[in-house]
Subunit: 303 residues, 4 copies
């Protein structure tokens, strides 16, 4: 994976909006690749580290959009609405700029953003990522870009700077968001499955870790299962790699995407109920794998 | 993996009860390992092939229990009750015989069998297996034996004859059944998850195969996901590797195991409803992965 | 409602099997109507009161079946199996006797009992009842008899002795059991609905009683709603009018009846999970309306 | 119930916004009570009938708010937002006016409206109604007003003009909305319960009407059960008294209200899934009681 700008490549000026745990790791990798970063964040303090490494500070989200390529990594639809749409940032974008939106957002907003960019002659690539903050910092994310193929090709070398794998998933941006929501839905369903199966085992006096060991070395020998079975088996929920309310948010996005097309997701509905119950119980600051405690408590087991 | 009796080993006389798709493959591997098989099956025709290969035909289940080691691979609790308990086969067992029960059964029957063997001075090893008939024939099953350690050690060389891996899971036989039920529950939950996520994608015009490709090469790169995502993505449900009613049976066993300890399994409850709906729709002879059609139909998609 | 045998009527000798809270009230009303009772109960102490009022004590269930009409009011399928089928009581029945089975049982057992009586030339009327022990004692039950019309007509005057209303529901006995299970399923669903709606109100600072008052004087002005809204609104769950495990049992019967015909009951599945959770939490001795506490706890409300 | 302005009463000028099936019946009753109506509707054609009866046509929603009392009966949150908030109608309100909002809206909007009126010195009464269009036309609604007691008392004589019963439910307006959502949630849960119980009966060859007859004359002898059991028993779903998407909307409002306080509503989640499935199947224009067809189809019964 290339980490430095090739002799033939031109350095690109990259706007970057949203420097949370994920965004700051990604922006650092883009800088390490030899590109210039113009950074903006709602809490300005988060830009300091990047500036110390040589990034420029943008005066506004709109100023960050005055760049050849703009990356955004924001928390949710509301943040995108506020920071990029309502703020007028898109109207301030440099002509011909391409916006790479790494955020996990709703399908309806994904479609709307596609249209808003098209109307302004801007490029738009949805590029949701698989991976947690440590993978972002290590440049080891899986990135699922979708959008106009020319735009995807244009930004692909930049994506490679922080990717383990760049996997284009279609010519329409929203497709990437559908796939991202599908993946996160499946992760949450897996957590609930491990929670229920683990509680069943524990109720019969079998350590869930014994069950999980068999599962994750045979049928379910996959990264996600190994990671989450370890967290759940050891009840190690803090610090949160991905906090409960974010899990609820993503399940809600999947449910909304289903509702838009009248596709029911009964496991999604169950997950929503379980997240609410976990948060009502006071576990909102734990990792979303603490959803498994709901099953333990329901079975009368020590949680 | 050894396929022949070592010079130092003694040939063992092995009773074998239950020669369906799984049992006949396993018995063949035991014979190929140099052991003598005394076989019995409710439908006697199924014994013919094995007899042609050199096995002896037992006149009754009880006669098959007149052996040093007896394997059983029966369909469900009712078959075990009829063939092994009510038939008096246990009372006809050779003194000191060890019974290796490969069947997927309820936890309550598992506990009862443990006691019935103990009362008669017989060894009892629960040894449920992970793998489909082709793995049984190829001697590539994962076997999860549990029970008295001496008994497990005694039969382990025999288990190795048809195993990819022999994985002892405890000193009490029922523990193996808990783990087996947990694995099958997780498989069914995975099928439902893939069904819902696939229907969500399809409702938005994204081919489920595109979603599954990303999933099974990244987060969910596990054998079970690869196998079932392929079946569901291609809607290839016939011939059934594991038929719908067997899936319902295993979910019911998990629910019963939960009920015994007041552990609710909401995904299990959902799965039960979905299996019933699939069977009511006429899909009872398809592979259990056809559960995914329930989600497609619910979303108004062509099934 | 007649309480005494008419001059034209003959006194009937009535066997009575099962003298729990419901049965003893009913038997007393039959005696008050001028009939002779021959009573049997598994715990013989429960017969004492009735004997003190003039009933005869039967030496066995079979002896109680040596009567013109036999009533049974037993807890569940297992009790019917043990007391009436396995005991040989049916074989000891007086030729031409008619058995009125008041118990709430499974549809499959209902069908089997119909056949067992037919084979022996005995009359069989399924007559499940609506009402709690106080209504039984007061002779105010709703009775839903079904079976051969001649048999129903024969026993109808006896049913009138403890009924507010006798409502024949068909020529095949099992139909009464289907209707009884449907009613109890609807009651449990109502309890869960009140529990969830009440928790929603409480979470918003509205006393559930305020919501229930509106409901039970307008849209839901029905006896069941009034009774249960009062219990749930005041969280008055002890002493149990109908204990949690009985509620679970009846939901299980509905689920089994559905499974027999591949009819899924998603609310039934949910109810099963909720009952298990309530019992796991230690509420198994409370009235089944305490199911509403599951919703309160899930919402983080004081239970 | 008074239908004419008392000699002592002053005629009130009443703004009326939203003249759909419900609103037009209510406005007619207010006019019949001797009051002057200034009417506005987004589709202006709907005002014609009322104008023919003597109402004045308002040029805008804001013009309708230039009145002593303003009633609104709009479809959902979005309509309220557009017609009353974003339009500036509140800013055009006559000083001291009282707004009576009959609409079924979200709890969060209810709270926001309370604040918006307070800031402007306007009275605000939430007054959701129970009853269908025929009851609105006949002046037979149950009305649940809540808000500042003085405001409620001020408008109460007007409410009496179209009410069977006026039932104040608290000093804070949002409380009325909580109770309204609770009632509609319970109605939807009842429909689903009848659907499942009816399908269970039908699967066993028992006409659901036989089950419903017993239910609605005994335990569940309530108006809502009688109405909906008749619709479901006869499968009479068209014309829609309350169309499927409105049912989905109200369930969604209940779920949102729960989510706001982390109160899960598992029956609500199930209802949402069932409504989506019904609409996906093409039943979106039927009465919401057609939700029962989902249970029939799931059981393989003719729908």
């Amino acid at each position: 994976m290339p980490r430095l700008v090739d002799k033939e490549e031109t350095m690109t000026t990259i706007g970057f909006v949203g420097l949370g745990n994920m965004g700051s790791g990604i922006a650092s990798n883009l800088m390490a690749g030899g590109h210039e970063i113009v950074a903006w964040n709602r809490s300005p303090g988060k830009v300091d580290d990047l500036v110390a490494k040589g990034a420029r500070r943008a005066a506004s989200a709109g100023a960050a959009f005055d760049a050849e390529v703009v990356f955004s990594m924001l928390a949710d639809d509301a943040a995108i609405e506020a920071v990029i749409v309502a703020s007028g940032a898109l109207d301030a974008a440099r002509p011909g700029a391409t916006h790479v939106n790494l955020s996990t957002i709703s399908i309806s907003l994904a479609r709307r953003l596609e249209a808003l960019h098209r109307e302004r002659g801007l490029g738009y690539v949805a590029a949701p990522v698989l991976g947690r903050p440590d993978a972002a910092a290590a440049g080891q994310l899986v990135i699922l870009p979708a959008g106009d193929p020319a735009a995807v090709e244009k930004v692909r070398p930049l994506l490679e700077l922080f990717a383990r794998r760049v996997w284009p998933v279609g010519d329409e941006a929203y497709r990437a968001n559908v796939i991202k929501l599908g993946c996160n839905f499946a992760l949450a369903a897996m957590i609930e499955t491990l929670g229920e199966a683990g509680a069943l085992a524990a109720a019969h006096g079998v350590d869930p870790k014994d069950l999980f060991a068999v599962m994750t070395e045979t049928l379910f020998a996959a990264p996600a299962y190994k990671t989450y079975a370890a967290l759940i088996g050891e009840r190690r929920f803090s610090p949160a790699g991905f906090a409960m309310p974010l899990g609820l948010k993503d399940v809600r996005l999947a449910l909304q995407a289903g509702e838009e097309k009248h596709a029911s997701l009964p496991i999604g509905s169950l997950l929503r109920d379980r997240f609410l119950e976990a948060i009502a119980h006071g576990d909102g600051e734990l990792d979303w794998s603490a959803l498994s405690l709901v099953s333990r408590r329901a079975a009368g087991l020590e949680a």
